[in-house]
């Protein structure tokens, strides 16, 4: 070999070897798709020990349904079709993201041939990507307005998946252990309007008699991206506060009078964790999962309620359910209802899918989530849909057609 070529060739070989160490040391793609063993790879001995000074909970047998409504199961004969080679792409809300990722992770064992990827980028981008045919399905906590549906995507179907509670979680050090604050609509709107600026403001003290609130400045945290959680939160504030309704309004993006922005439910939760004196609105799972307190909120009837499955289901009860399943459940009148809750939908198309296996895989997955998956929803801190809504959601799946042909039929009950 000619002398002057030696060094560059050696360099290139070194470069290629360096790059290939990443690829060669990994199993092939066929192996990374989990084989149908029930559990993902969990070795009892991990390289890193879990540092836990507190006693480990011994696993106790769990009641099959810890929920007020009956555990929904699909009729015994139904199982999703074993389709292979399909990749489903979705994007959207961060509100239900922990749940969707958990569902997707379990569904890999149920139908290994279908690869589902859901990117939590916010309801705004989810709606946009879906309408522009960039994704197969979208996730949103804010239903598309009727004029937008008519103008841009007339064949959109809203399939509600689960109800979630939006909690105004906070980071307030120095409170006695186990204390959880209570908020009234006036304090919440005052904080986010920038009128209440310190934690020992008389209004907050009035809500929490006997709790020693420190003299710390409040930093409200909101969503910097276009968000369905924001839509639920501002919808609630607009209903309970005239000042909010006239000065700020409701929507997926608003002009916030005070506070700082963070992207995604995760971003808001993370900012609250890292900022003393911060308060932020997140879906309940994000608060619990990060050891942030879940406060009680005063509802329209004057009672302070915590977001439990009972109170959130009560919020959804008694609401007239429209045919297209787009409705809001904030600030209901019930005595025991949690005031800040909302549905989250998956957007699918009823006529313009072109790929039959994809449409079949998608509808099967959604049906599975609406039946088998609802238990997982409860376990992660979300709330099941009321039976009537769930049945109507399943019926929506029947409307999906590819070139006129129906791809899914709800199994008979």
């Amino acid at each position: 070999m000619q002398r002057h070529l030696v060094r560059p060739v050696l360099l290139m070989i070194a470069f290629v070897l360096f790059m290939s160490t990443f690829v060669i040391t990994a199993p092939s793609q066929a192996q990374t798709q989990p084989t149908p063993t029930p559990r993902p790879e969990v070795t009892p001995t991990r390289p890193r020990a879990t540092p836990t000074p507190r006693p480990r909970r011994t696993p106790t047998p769990r009641p099959q349904a810890a929920t007020p409504t009956a555990q929904p199961t699909a009729p015994a004969a139904w199982a999703p079709r074993q389709i292979s080679g399909v990749a489903l792409q979705g994007s959207g809300a961060t509100f239900p993201n922990p749940l969707y990722q958990a569902w997707i992770s379990v569904y890999k064992n149920v139908v290994p041939g279908v690869t589902i990827s859901y990117q939590a980028v916010g309801s705004g981008q989810g709606q946009r990507d879906f309408i522009r045919y960039l994704t197969d399905f979208g996730g949103t906590d804010s239903a598309l307005p009727a004029d937008r549906i008519a103008a841009e995507a007339p064949d959109t179907l809203h399939v509600p998946m689960v109800i979630g509670a939006v909690v105004p979680t906070y980071n307030l050090p120095g409170l006695p252990a186990g204390t959880v604050l209570r908020f009234s609509p006036e304090t919440l709107s005052g904080i986010y309007l920038g009128e209440i600026t310190r934690w020992n403001d008389p209004k907050i003290v009035a809500d929490n008699p006997g709790v020693p609130l420190p003299d710390l400045s409040i930093t409200p945290v909101y969503r910097s991206d276009s968000s369905g959680t924001t839509a639920i939160w501002t919808d609630y504030l607009a209903k309970v506060s005239e000042a909010w309704r006239t000065r700020v309004g409701a929507g997926t993006t608003v002009r916030w009078p005070a506070g700082i922005g963070a992207p995604g439910n995760a971003g808001v939760a993370g900012t609250v964790v890292r900022t003393e004196g911060a308060i932020g609105y997140v879906e309940q799972a994000f608060a619990i999962g990060n050891r942030l307190p879940v406060p009680a909120v005063k509802n329209a009837a004057g009672n302070y309620v915590l977001p439990t499955p009972e109170t959130v289901s009560a919020a959804a009860a008694g609401v007239t359910i429209p045919e297209d399943l787009r409705f809001s459940i904030t600030n209901p009148q019930g005595a025991n209802s949690y005031p800040i809750a909302g549905l989250t939908w998956i957007l699918i198309r009823s006529q313009t899918y072109t790929d039959v296996p994809k449409a079949q895989a998608l509808t099967d997955f959604l049906y599975w989530c609406l039946t088998e998956g609802q238990g997982a929803a409860v376990r992660l801190g979300y709330v099941q849909l009321p039976t009537e809504v769930r049945l109507k959601a399943m019926a929506q799946l029947n409307k999906v057609r590819v070139r006129g042909e129906q791809v899914f039929t709800t199994p008979p009950r």
């Binding site: 400045s217 910097s224 991206d225 309704r245 700082i260």
Partner: protein
């Protein structure tokens, strides 16, 4: 023998015939790819120009001076697109970055070019250039997780409580840990190597006669540098600073993660704000209406045009400094 020679002749002739146009093809081929580079720039300009048409027609130049950025129609706030918050944020954060980085970077350039012992010159230069190679998202991660909490607690809070009482734009609530000041500081770290490397290069190009003359007159080493070498390279140093400014203006990821993403003109340096690049990066994928997208593309186009102009002026300055066309710079 003669026959073999004749055979070889024809072979060589055959090769020559086949490649007699080779040089022309060579010229054409390389010209094609070189023009492709120019085409890439034009592609960016054309694409952003055509996609921003709606915003340009509707708002005109007033787009850049109006101060309301409200992309989503609500009952209360009508839709309005004004780029002022983005522009103000970009200008202030870049100005902070320049004020902090330029003196330090020029000092580094002077040190590396003039005063550094030759043994450690190369490793030090390398380390300074390594700062430029670090991806900006890593600056963002480090800024958010490490620098922001430290800065808010130890610098911003005392500053706000002391100087902030006198100077209003240094006061106010610092709890957010985001804002133009912190974004400006991280930006200054990012543009430091750009300015330092170019300064070092232009200083090395200063002819030795400049130094020798001053030394002969009895100047101290610093006077040699400051009174003779640096003024000679003044144009090049200004060009370096302009290139650094261009990089600060266009920096996206670190700014998005540190500036707070609130599209309003802030009142203090500790309040969340936005920059043009951060606004486009965070809102373009969320935009719901065509006019919103068009307005964002218009901001991106303006940003590109400004960096283009800055590059052009910097290049002309460095060219003037070198008294000739410049082949490359270590931007």
């Amino acid at each position: 023998m003669a026959q073999a020679q004749a055979a070889r002749e024809t072979f060589r002739e055959r090769i020559a015939k086949r490649t007699q146009h080779g040089d022309g093809i060579f010229w054409g081929l390389t010209l094609f790819f070189a023009l492709l580079v120019i085409v890439l720039v034009f592609a960016i300009l054309w694409v952003t120009w055509s996609d921003s048409q709606q915003a340009r027609e509707r708002f005109g130049l007033a787009f850049f001076t109006s101060g309301e950025w409200n992309p989503v129609e609500t009952e209360v706030n009508p839709v309005s697109f004004g780029a002022m918050p983005a522009i103000v944020g970009t200008l202030i954060s870049s100005a902070i970055a320049l004020i902090l980085a330029a003196p330090v970077a020029i000092g580094i350039g002077i040190f590396l070019a003039e005063l550094c012992p030759p043994a450690i010159r190369t490793p030090l230069s390398f380390m300074v250039e390594l700062l430029a190679a670090i991806p900006s998202v890593i600056y963002g991660v480090w800024g958010v997780m490490v620098f922001a909490p430290f800065f808010t607690q130890n610098v911003a809070r005392p500053m706000s409580e002391t100087i902030g009482q006198i100077v209003p734009w240094l006061g106010g609530n610092v709890a957010s840990g985001r804002g133009l000041l912190i974004a400006g500081i991280i930006l200054s770290i990012m543009i430091l190597p750009t300015i330092a490397a170019i300064t070092r290069d232009v200083l090395t190009l200063v002819p030795n006669t400049q130094r020798e003359v001053m030394l002969a007159l009895g100047a101290t080493r610093w006077e040699v540098i400051w009174l003779s070498v640096v003024p000679y390279a003044r144009a090049g140093i200004i060009g370096a600073v302009m290139l650094g400014l261009g990089r600060a203006l266009g920096e996206t990821m670190a700014a998005t993660m540190l500036v707070g993403n609130r599209p309003q003109v802030p009142e203090t340096l500790f309040e969340p704000a936005t920059t043009a690049a951060a606004l486009v990066a965070s809102e373009l994928v969320n935009s719901q209406t065509l006019i919103h997208e068009s307005a964002l593309v218009l901001i991106a186009l303006a940003l590109f045009a400004i960096t283009l102009l800055l590059n052009l002026s910097a290049r002309l300055l460095i060219w003037y400094m070198n008294r000739g066309p410049v082949g490359r710079t270590r931007a």
